[in-house]
Amino acid sequence: MNDHLKHLAREAALGRMGRREFLGRAAALGLTALGANSLLATAAKAAGAQKGGTLRVGLQGGSTTDSLDPALATNQVAQSVIRLWGEPLVELAVDGGIEGKVAESYEASADAKTWTFKIRSGITFSNGQPVTAADVVETMDRHTGEDTKSGALGIMRSIVSVKADGDSVVVELDTPNADLPYLMTDYHLIIQPNGGKDDPAAGIGTGPYILKSVDMGVRFVAEKNPNYWGDLGNADTIEYVVINDNTARVAALQAGQVDMIDRVPPRTAKLVDRAPNITVKSTAGPGHYVFIMHCDTDPFANNDVRLALKYGINRQEMVDKILNGYGTIGNDTPINASYPLFTELEQREYDPDKAKFHMQKSGYDGSILLRTSDNSFPGAPDASALFQQTCATAGIDLEIKREPNDGYWSEVWNAQPFCTSYWGGRPTQDQMFTTAYLSTADWNDTRFKNEQFDQLLIAARGELDTAKRTQMYADMSTMLHNDGGLICPMFNDFVDAMSDRVDGWVDDTKGYPLMNGYAPMKMWVKA
């Protein structure tokens, strides 16, 4: 039976059998859809990644103000460009695990407080310099120094010291953290010669490609690095074009000027998929669109007001109308099935009666001001209007204030008591909770301060028993679900599209859009 399956997979990969037909036949042989899909992906890989050619990608989110300095990368384009020329110590694997990059292996002490990363031997930067443990130490130092502007500073705080030890790097933490390797996958933490202290924006790293032409916010061209240590990278040349306008990006794909694009607007994704030679790929991820209340500000300081609003939102309607089905419903926690230790909680449904009950119980009868803007998430003003209507059914008066995009992240988000926002998610629960729900977190945008939650979070970091740890995260999610200031109606899928000219897509890759940003390198141009 196993041979039969392998044969079917090979047939499907070679295009002699449709994917759907393959899945059907595999199911007949007793294989689950998930298993069959991954078998298919493996077979496709084996069936022939083709080397050579130029692969062109249209991306959203770049700006002329971007920098090549990984510490300053804030958007999708900057991050995708970094992936070409540089690598962190370790990286998120397709299935959400960890794979080695600059570090070939790592191990933890029994208390998960001391971590040792062994540097891959014999690899060099693109300027020919060999990679040493000292480079790694300097890199970590640049992102933790007092005067750093690095976006990774927040996650580096728990690190007490980083020292070189022969060809290894030893990282000491102030508290145990079983998830440290996940922190090291952060896209800011690219290993650079001397830590990038001499010239942070030089674009010199150990990545599979070397930048040849850089025009910020416009175009990037990179060629295959002949000395790269691994087998990543199929096309000889990769070209990134920044196309921020949605219509223009889709048109460029249709006109054959680029081979793949990210962020297809959900509203038109089905139409785009119907176009000949174009396939739309949707990937579930940890990103979510949120309504956030400050738990320490009236009227939201009263948990009954928070519960009333949580019951007053119709999550399914939001997924249908705002995401056009490209997403899943949320459950007032930032965690969904894309996290490794996820436990499903009972789903909170839209219930106007309960909403009314909690509102009356709270004793608050004024109107509630919700601030929103176009850039807080795509369709945020529309989602706010839907929320307003479902609240009205429950007798809650929601007032919407439209704020300008300009300055939203400095004046409204994390400043006003109730507004719309989004989160990109993180690879692990610990990182997500630490970033936004720990009492002392800088971005605690719901002002959620719960001692028990904090204690559990710290304890879970040092807990190496997976079952116990899973239970701890489930308990924390329940606390947020019942007491938190987060109303999470939906998790948005990443929607990418590509033409028939390229092949090698792998479904359900964890992380960011376009196969965690690796699609241009892992996919190939069909000969």
Binding site: G58, S63, T64, T65, D66, S67, L72, T74, N75, E146, D147, T148, K149, S150, G151, L153, G154, A201, S213, D215, M216, G217, V218, R219, V241, V242, I243, N244, D245, T247, A248, A251, A252, Q254, A255, G256, Q257, V258, D406, G407, W409, S410, E411, W413, D442, W443
Partner: protein, 318 residues
Amino acid sequence: MAPILKLLAQRIALSLLLLLMISVVIFVGTMILPGDVAQSILGQSATPEALANLRAELGLNDPPVSRYFQWLFGALQGDLGNALTSGQDITSAISTRLANTLFLAFWAAVIAVPLAIFLGLLAVRYKDRWPDKLISGVTLASISIPEFLIGYVLMYLIAVKLRWFPSVAMINDGMNLWQKLNSIALPVAVLTLVVLAHMMRMTRAAILNVMQSAYIETAELKGLSTFKVIWRHAFPNSIAPIVNVVMLNLAYLVVGVVVIEVVFVYPGMGQYLVDHVSKRDVPVVQACGLIFAAVYIGLNMVADIVSILSNPRLRHPK
């Protein structure tokens, strides 16, 4: 010739004064924008320490008046400072962008201006007959449709369906002139459609105005053909208003095409300015504002001078 030189000198001095006043307005305007440079640069994912470090480094704590004079003297010497966000030298970054913008504006103008004037003359020649109505109808329709929509329609028909020209107007140094022209064909077409109507209508109106004059009747009575009358006798006397409107449209082609740049992903000044506005990169915004103001004032000054020179009454004042 003395009075005319004096008049020209006056015009130029006035323009420079105006530019200086505008520099103050730009500086004050950028000062009172809401939001914080450091937060805009580092984005949603900025920590308070990182923000404080960046603010100190950018010198955002100096008094505004001293910053204005530093900036003004620098700008006079051709040094526009460094961008806050990327640390790049603004003068060199802007010069490539400005060259791209001028390249696009130049080719749009090369097509649109003669076409508009020719269509205007044609409309006068066949006044109130079908060519006049057709020309007016089409050009008025094209100016009434928002430019991004014309862009999308042309993109769909010409780039996606027919595949004659690319939808992404990417140009770079590695391309020869022919490749560059091929690349900017669509934006040039859209810009032409957008500016055509204004210039064409003004040409038509100005010439028709002159056509009422007695000397035109004389020319007709001499037995000259209608086209010759228009070209030799009416057109030279209506140059001033036509040049005015042509200059206004040229200025628009340089400073007002950001929407077209976004739609066609053209690396010009507009997109460069908008990106830096949203990041609160004040030095770049000021530099772009100054250049745009200079272009506007300069072209209007040219229009003024041409109308003075083309008008004998102004050329020889009593």
